[in-house]
């Protein structure tokens, strides 16, 4: 049995993977911001890169700058720096954009730019050095006027690298950051600023490991300074505000890290899959980070959990209720097969089967609570509305289950052992309930769990009619507000839940019916 369960669970993995790809593809439906190339020319002519940076940030937050599924040439800081320098060397229209990018990635790019400076032709050497002026400004070094002059800038950066190349190594910055955390002082803070963005990785890492308020203030201030984002957790901020700032920095790092770190061989291979839109998205979702709601900026996961209760209650309760009612009805109509009552039951069930859920919900609301309850979420005790919602869904799934029960009963009744029991004088009703029902229950149990997804979908509409504040109600509000993160989370949850229900129903089936297990294992064995 364990073997069967494990096998079945394994088979669910490709399904979940496929579902995640489909949900991911849904994100591509979202309207995309304009491409960077479209705005680059404007930024170059006006010399104002504010809008360009904003757009760059927006696009990379949605990972639009990396390929969807496979990234054969992942771009790390080294590649970025080298292509930027090459573009500047080549000159042309996009050279100013490359210069701007070089200025933005700053210190992290220096180990790949400055050593190459000597090898460049004299005229372009100056252009590259001038492009680095913003970096020097952030480091609070040099004279801005000097750095704008090509020959002076080259001299400055050459000296800079001669003096400080040793500081641009990972152990060195890590040590500096550790010292800043433990014995913070303005002097040490300035020391780290000299490494500029090269120190970002240890700085961001340190934010997670320390809880010291002073250290966090310093760390966020450093990060804010070198990236130009005004996100500092000041000393007087509340604990939750501080946590939020740190979380935002981690989020930012998750999106932008590739601009500031260099990959070694193994990492580069991993990045061909990991550094893609799907990879980034799936890794984030897989670790339970569902993002924040676009409506109110609240994190989605806890909200989802709090709304789940109502929906799960309605769904599961109606499944159980429908099972409890359907089985006796099925047994009864099988027992009275061909009588008028059997036909009458069939007619009623067929009507229920064809009834649109939202219509029956509204009719029930009108019958039981009077016309007023039709106005969603206003009147009526919550309990009554809950009961009515469960009732609606029960009626909706009743037909399928009791028909299944009826035909299973009729099938079983023809078996020899039932006939034997009858021949030995066991009363008909006892044969039905004791001998036949046990075997006829199996398919109905399986079918009941297969109904879960349909009931779940039905719950969305029913909640809306009865004004129950569950997942469906919240999702419809999200639809109105185009709250993409919430919708993504909901649909992922639904897909996961459905797959799980399917697996559970199969396992349940195998548990109840040993023949299934054997067939399955044999089939798998034969296939292998």
């Amino acid at each position: 049995m364990l073997r069967y369960t494990l096998r079945r669970l394994l088979w669910a993995i490709p399904t979940l993977f496929g579902a995640s790809i489909i949900v991911f593809l849904l994100t591509t439906l979202l309207p995309e911001p304009p491409t960077l190339a479209s705005i680059a020319a404007v930024a170059v002519t006006s010399g104002d890169f504010t809008e360009y940076d904003r757009l760059e940030d927006e696009r990379s937050t949605r990972f639009l700058e990396i390929p969807r599924f496979l990234n054969p040439r992942p771009v790390d800081v080294r590649t970025l720096a080298e292509t930027s320098v090459a573009t500047i060397v080549r000159g042309g229209a996009d050279a100013p954009v490359a210069a701007h990018t070089l200025g933005r990635i700053g210190g992290a790019a220096l180990p790949y730019v400055l050593p190459e400076l000597d090898g460049l032709p004299a005229d372009v050497r100056g252009r590259v050095a001038v492009a680095l002026a913003p970096v020097a400004a952030r480091m609070k070094l040099g004279n801005p006027d000097d750095l704008a002059k090509p020959d002076r800038a080259v001299t400055f950066w050459t000296h800079f690298w001669e003096d400080r190349a040793l500081d641009f190594t990972e152990p060195s910055v890590r040590r500096a950051v550790r010292r800043l955390v433990h014995f913070g002082s303005d002097l040490r803070e300035d020391d780290i600023l000299l490494a500029d963005t090269f120190a970002l990785e240890p700085v961001i890492d340190a934010m997670a490991t320390t809880t010291d308020r002073v250290a966090i203030e310093r760390l966020t201030r450093v990060a804010a300074h070198v990236t130009g984002r005004g996100l500092v957790a000041t000393l007087d901020a509340t604990e939750s505000a501080r946590r939020r700032v740190v979380a935002e920095w981690h989020e930012w790092w998750y999106v932008h890290a590739m601009d500031y770190i260099a990959l070694d061989g193994a990492e580069r291979v991993a990045a061909t899959i990991g550094d893609t839109r799907y990879g980034k998205w799936a890794a984030r979702v897989g670790s339970g980070q569902l993002g924040v709601s676009a409506r109110d900026g609240e994190p989605i996961a806890p909200k989802l959990a709090s709304r789940m209760g109502v929906t799960m209650l309605v769904t599961v309760a109606s499944m159980l209720a429908s099972f409890a009612v359907a089985v006796p009805i099925g047994v009864f109509s099988a027992w009275r097969r061909g009588h008028a009552i059997d036909t009458a039951i069939a007619v009623v069930l067929f009507a229920l089967y064809s009834m649109p859920t939202f219509w029956s919900a509204m009719l029930l609301a009108r019958i039981f609570t009077g016309a007023d309850a039709l106005v969603a979420a206003r009147v009526g005790a919550s309990d009554l509305r809950m009961v009515l919602a469960i009732m609606t869904l029960t009626l909706a799934s009743l037909a399928t289950l009791s028909r299944q029960q009826r035909s299973a009963m009729l099938e079983v009744v023809r078996q020899d052992y039932v006939r034997t029991a009858r021949a030995k004088g066991v009363p008909a009703i006892r044969v039905m309930v004791v001998h036949a029902l046990r075997n006829a229950l199996v398919p109905t149990v399986t079918l009941a769990s297969l109904q879960l997804p349909a009931l779940f979908g039905g719950a969305f509409v029913v909640e809306e009619v009865f004004g129950l504040q569950g997942l469906g109600y919240e999702t419809l509000r999200a639809v109105e507000a185009h709250d993409a993160p919430w919708l993504m989370a909901t649909i992922l949850l639904t897909a996961g839940g459905t797959t799980l229900a399917l697996v559970l129903s199969d396992i349940l089936h195998a548990l109840l019916d040993p023949r299934v297990r054997e067939t399955y294992v044999r089939r798998q064995g034969a296939a292998a």
């Binding site: 059997d342 016309a371 779940f456 909901t490």
Partner: protein, 379 residues
Amino acid sequence: MRPSAYDLKPVKSPPSSDLPGGGANEPPESLNVRSRPAALLVAQAQFAQSRLARASAVTLAFMLLVAIFADVLAADLPILCRVHGSLYVMANVTHPAALEGSDCHALAASKDRAPGDFALCPVVRFGPNTAAAGGETLVAPSFAAGHPFGTDAKGRDVFARIVHGTRTSLTFGLLTALAFVTVGAILGAFAGFFGGLLDAVVTRLVETLASLPTLILVLVVQALTAKPSALTMLLTIAATRWTEVTRIIRAEVIFASAQDYVVAARALGASPTRILWKHILPNVLVPALAAAPFGVAAVLLIEAAMDFLSLGIAPTTPSWGEILGEARFRPGAWWLLVFPGVSLFASLVALNLVGEALRDALDPRLRDEEAGFGRQLGG
């Protein structure tokens, strides 16, 4: 729904062999490629026997007529009229510029009508989007006011909206079902016939898509697309619903491939394409057809639910779901709840019954307890 891939039903005999009536006397399939598929003939005969199925087919035909002649049943301009000496034919459909701003009531009762002027008006003299004169809203059903089904909160005639909504729903339902039954049948046939990698991919895809409830997926897609429209909804529904058809057809094709007549054809050297086209497809045609009515019913339901939540086809388009959605906020107006609800319910009942009848006809030897509602209700 078929409970699982490995259910333990006894193997059933091929639909085309050993048939009552004409089917058995026909020459073998491979010799008589021009004849209509035997399975289809039998299905037809079976179908004709069921009273309920006939009644449902009549209901559906009636709804189709309503959809086609919606403009004759309810429109704000006359079907045929002469105004100031010029004759307008089918003004209710063409809406000629000359009659702009005028309507049936004015044309029929106008005092300054020239001699020889006349107007032949539709049954109900309101279009689906004409608001009642005098700003009256929520008129209860009354023949005297000319609103047999009343009006909605915007003063639009409910009868007109239901009649035109029939057109919306049926068009949408039929188009969507056509799309996914075609795609589903083709994919199912190929997957079942060729097997191997194609089969594995299709099966995985079916299982994956089946894990996403259609209604929720449609909701999300409509919310996320820049311009949600009837087309995006159609595509989304079709994208998830083909799986059901594929599942059925694939199983049928696998079953048919193992039959003697296919083996014989293969032994005779028939190409795979020929076997699939001439021998297998005719036998799986009926299951594909039987899936269609259920498909249309499912689409109608989703479309109505989306309109009910006012997230469906454009809000001005008349539809049943839209009226029902309005009923939520007009507790007193029972006519907003009853008339569109009954229309939707009736069409779902008819579609389901036709589907059941087709499915039962598909396999005449199916025992009663395995048959669906249709057998039991139809007698």
